[in-house]
C-alpha cells in the first residue's frame, strides 16, 4: 500500500516538475549525450584538463618567461634547478624551462598537424572507397595495403635524403603513414552505414554522391574517427620523438621533446634534470591523451564500453 503511494507521489512530483522547455526545444544531439557520458568519466576528465594545462603551459609559457630559448649563457651552463632557472639550464646555459615549453610547442604542433593531415586524407579516402565499393574500393584499398607494407624508417630516411631536412617533411612523412589506418576505419564504418535506409532515402531525395558522403556519411563515422585521432596524436608525437632521437627529426637549435630527451640522455648520469623534465612532460602528455582517447571511445560508443 505504502509502496504504491510512494510510486504515485513520485510520479506526481515528476509530472508537476516544470518541463525544461529550453532544453526540449533545442533538442539534444548524440554529441550532447556523449559529452554527458564523458563528463562522468573522472580519469578522462582529469586527462582532458591536464592536456589543456600542458598546451597552455607550452603555448603561453615562453611569453611570460624572462628567458629566450636560444639565448646562451655559457657561464651558467648545466646548472641544476634553482630559483632563477626552475628547471635548471642545459650545457649551453639555455633555460631548460623555456626549452621544454618551446620543445612542447613543436611536439604538439607535429602531433596535431600530422594527425589533422592524416585525418583529412584518411576520412575522404576511406569514405570514398567505402561508398563507391566494388572495383574502385578494391583498387583504393590495395594501394593502402601497399603503403602499409613500406618500412617507415627507411621511407623517412629516403625522404630526408631526397628533399633535405625540414619540419614540413616530418609532417608529410608521419601524415603519410598515419592516414592509412584512418582510411581503413572510415571505410569500414561507411560500408556499414551505406546499407542503412537514410542513405537510400538521401539518394531518393535527389542528393548528389558528394553531398551524401560529406553531409550524411562522414558525420556518422566521426565518433570512431575522433577516438582514433585522439590516440593518433600521441602515436605521432612518439614517432617524431623517435625520429628526432635518431637525428632525423627536428634539427637544433630548434627543439622538440624528442630532441631534448636525446640531449638529456647523453648527459643522463651527470645532469639528470636535462632528461627528467622533458621526459616528464612528454610522458604526461602521452598518458593524458591515451586516457582521454579511451574515455572518448566509451562515451561515443557506449555499447563497446566494458561495464
Amino acid at each position: 500500500m505504502s509502496r504504491t503511494a510512494d510510486i504515485v507521489s513520485a510520479t506526481e512530483e515528476r509530472l508537476s516538475a516544470p518541463l525544461a522547455v529550453e532544453e526540449f526545444e533545442k533538442g539534444s544531439s548524440l554529441w550532447d549525450d556523449a559529452w554527458h557520458r564523458l563528463k562522468r568519466n573522472r580519469l578522462a576528465m582529469i586527462s582532458l584538463f591536464l592536456f589543456i594545462a600542458i598546451v597552455l603551459f607550452c603555448v603561453v609559457g615562453p611569453l611570460l618567461s624572462p628567458y629566450d630559448g636560444e639565448q646562451q649563457d655559457l657561464l651558467k651552463g648545466a646548472q641544476g634547478p634553482s630559483g632563477e632557472h626552475w628547471f635548471g639550464t642545459d650545457t649551453l646555459g639555455r633555460d631548460l624551462m623555456v626549452r621544454t615549453m618551446e620543445g612542447g610547442r613543436i611536439s604538439l604542433l607535429v602531433g596535431m598537424v600530422a594527425t589533422f593531415v592524416a585525418l583529412m586524407i584518411g576520412v575522404v579516402y576511406g569514405a570514398t572507397a567505402g561508398y563507391l565499393g566494388g572495383k574502385v574500393d578494391a583498387v583504393m584499398m590495395r594501394i593502402v595495403d601497399t603503403l602499409y607494407a613500406l618500412p617507415f624508417t627507411i621511407f623517412v630516411i629516403l625522404l630526408m635524403v631526397a628533399f633535405g631536412r625540414s619540419l614540413w617533411l616530418i609532417f608529410v612523412a608521419i601524415g603519410a603513414v598515419e592516414w592509412l589506418s584512418m582510411a581503413r576505419i572510415v571505410r569500414a564504418g561507411v560500408i556499414g552505414l551505406k546499407k542503412q535506409e537514410f542513405v537510400e532515402a538521401a539518394v531518393s531525395l535527389g542528393y548528389s554522391h558528394t553531398r551524401i558522403i560529406l553531409r550524411h556519411l562522414i558525420p556518422n563515422v566521426l565518433g570512431p574517427v575522433i577516438v582514433i585521432a585522439t590516440l593518433t596524436v600521441p602515436a605521432v608525437m612518439l614517432l617524431e620523438a623517435f625520429l628526432s632521437f635518431l637525428g632525423l627529426g627536428v634539427q637544433p637549435p630548434n627543439a622538440s621533446w624528442g630532441v631534448l630527451i636525446n640531449e638529456g640522455q647523453q648527459n643522463m648520469e651527470i645532469f639528470p634534470w636535462l632528461l627528467m623534465f622533458p621526459a616528464f612532460f612528454f610522458a604526461l602528455t602521452l598518458f593524458s591523451l591515451n586516457f582521454l582517447g579511451d574515455g572518448l571511445r566509451d562515451a561515443l560508443d557506449p555499447k563497446s564500453a566494458k561495464d
Binding site: 526540449f24 526545444e25 533545442k26 533538442g27 539534444s28 544531439s29 548524440l30 554529441w31 566494388g134 542503412q196 535506409e197 537514410f198 537510400e200 532515402a201 538521401a202 539518394v203 531518393s204 531525395l205 535527389g206 542528393y207 548528389s208 553531398r211 553531409r215 550524411h216 558525420p219 556518422n220 566521426l222
Partner: protein, 341 residues
C-alpha cells in the same frame, strides 16, 4: 498521356550464384491523382519495381534489362544521373518501410528538411525553415515550430514516419512511391499515416503508388491494384475488379488467407509451398506448383501472357484452373481425394 507509364520493365540481379529475375515485364500506368496498389508477398518484386522506376537499384549487381519508364512522356531510363537527381525528391518522391533508420541520426529534423528543400529550390535558410515547419504541421506533428529543432531519436516511430512523409512531400511531387509505409507501425498509426497521404492526394492531386502486403490497406485506399507473384504481375485491374471478382488462383488464395474475425476454432488458411526460386527460369504459370486446383498439364512453356478479361481487368495464368469454382470447394475435394485412394 498518363503521368507514369511503365512498359515491360525487367530488372534482374547478376549474382555470383546466378541471375535473379526479380521483376519481369512489369507494365503499369498511373494518372494524376490516382492511387495504385501493388500487393504481393515478400520477394515478389514489389519493391524492385519501385526502386527501378527511380533507378535506386544498386548497379551492379542490379541491372534494368529492358523496358521504358515514361514519366510525362519522358523515358527516365534514358536520363543522365544529374537529370535523374533533379527528378528524385522533386517530381517523384519515395517513402521507405523503416522509419527508425530512414533519418540521419546526427542531424536535426530542421537540417534534414531544409536540405531536402534547398537541394531542389534556390531558397534562403529562413524561408526553407518556414516551409519545413509548414510541412511538419501538414503531417500532424504537434507544436512543429519547436519540434523541428529535435533530433530523430527524440521522436517515436510514428512521428519519424510522418517526418519522412513530410520530407518526401515537401517539394510537392507529382508522384509519391510509398514502399510499405505502414508495415513497421502499429494499427492506429497506420490509419493516421494513410489518412495523411490520402488527404494530400485529395488536395494536390498527387499520384501514389502504394506497395503493401496488407490487402485491407489496398481495399481502403487504392483505385487500381496489381497483384505480383514471383516477379510477375499476375492480376491487375480496378480495386473492385480484383477484390470482388478475383480471377487468378493466387489472388483468390490470398483472399482466402485473410483471417476473418468471426470464425472461431478454425485453422487459418495458408498457401502451401514456397514461392519459386527466381534464380532459375520460371516456366509456365508461376503459381502452378502451389495452385490448389488439380494439376492438369505440366508447365514447361514460357510464361502465359497477361490477358485482358474485361474493362482493364487482366490475368496471367495457365487457363486450366476453373476461375468460377470457389477455392473452398477445390480444397475440400483435395482432402477427399487424399483420404480415398
Amino acid at each position: 498521356m498518363p503521368l507514369l507509364d511503365v512498359r515491360n520493365l525487367s530488372t534482374s540481379f547478376h549474382l555470383r550464384s546466378g541471375i535473379v529475375r526479380a521483376a519481369q515485364n512489369i507494365s503499369l500506368t498511373l494518372e494524376k491523382g490516382e492511387t495504385l496498389g501493388i500487393v504481393g508477398e515478400s520477394g515478389s518484386g514489389k519493391s524492385v519495381t519501385c526502386y527501378s522506376i527511380l533507378q535506386l537499384i544498386p548497379q551492379p549487381p542490379g541491372r534494368i534489362e529492358s523496358g521504358e519508364v515514361l514519366f510525362e512522356g519522358r523515358d527516365l531510363l534514358k536520363l543522365s544521373e544529374s537529370e535523374m537527381r533533379s527528378i528524385r525528391g522533386k517530381r517523384i518522391s519515395m517513402i521507405f518501410q523503416d522509419p527508425m533508420t530512414s533519418l540521419n541520426p546526427y542531424l536535426r529534423i530542421s537540417t534534414q528538411l531544409i536540405e531536402a528543400i534547398r537541394v531542389h529550390d534556390n531558397m534562403d535558410e529562413d524561408a526553407a525553415l518556414k516551409k519545413a515547419i509548414t510541412a511538419l504541421e501538414e503531417v500532424g506533428i504537434p507544436d512543429a515550430a519547436s519540434r523541428v529543432r529535435s533530433y530523430p531519436h527524440e521522436f517515436s516511430g510514428g512521428m519519424r514516419q510522418r517526418v519522412m512523409i513530410a520530407m518526401a512531400l515537401v517539394n510537392d511531387p507529382d508522384l509519391l512511391i510509398a514502399d510499405e509505409p505502414t508495415t513497421a507501425l502499429d494499427v492506429t498509426v497506420q490509419a493516421q499515416v494513410l489518412d495523411i497521404i490520402k488527404e494530400r492526394q485529395r488536395r494536390l492531386g498527387t499520384a501514389v503508388i502504394l506497395v503493401t502486403h496488407d490487402l485491407g490497406v489496398v481495399a481502403g485506399t487504392c483505385d487500381k491494384v496489381q497483384v505480383m507473384y514471383a516477379g510477375q504481375v499476375v492480376e491487375s485491374g480496378t480495386t473492385d475488379q480484383v477484390f470482388y471478382n478475383p480471377q487468378h488462383a493466387y489472388t483468390r488464395s490470398l483472399q482466402k488467407a485473410i483471417p476473418s474475425l468471426q470464425a472461431k476454432n478454425e485453422a487459418l488458411y495458408t498457401i502451401a509451398g514456397t514461392p519459386p526460386d527466381l534464380s532459375k527460369p520460371v516456366l509456365g504459370c508461376a503459381f502452378y506448383p502451389r495452385c490448389p486446383f488439380p494439376k492438369v498439364k505440366d508447365q514447361d512453356g514460357p510464361a502465359p501472357e497477361l490477358t485482358e478479361l474485361s474493362g482493364g481487368h487482366c490475368v496471367r495464368d495457365c487457363g486450366y484452373c476453373d476461375r468460377t469454382k470457389p477455392i473452398e470447394t477445390v480444397l475440400a475435394q483435395d482432402v477427399v481425394a487424399e483420404e480415398t485412394p
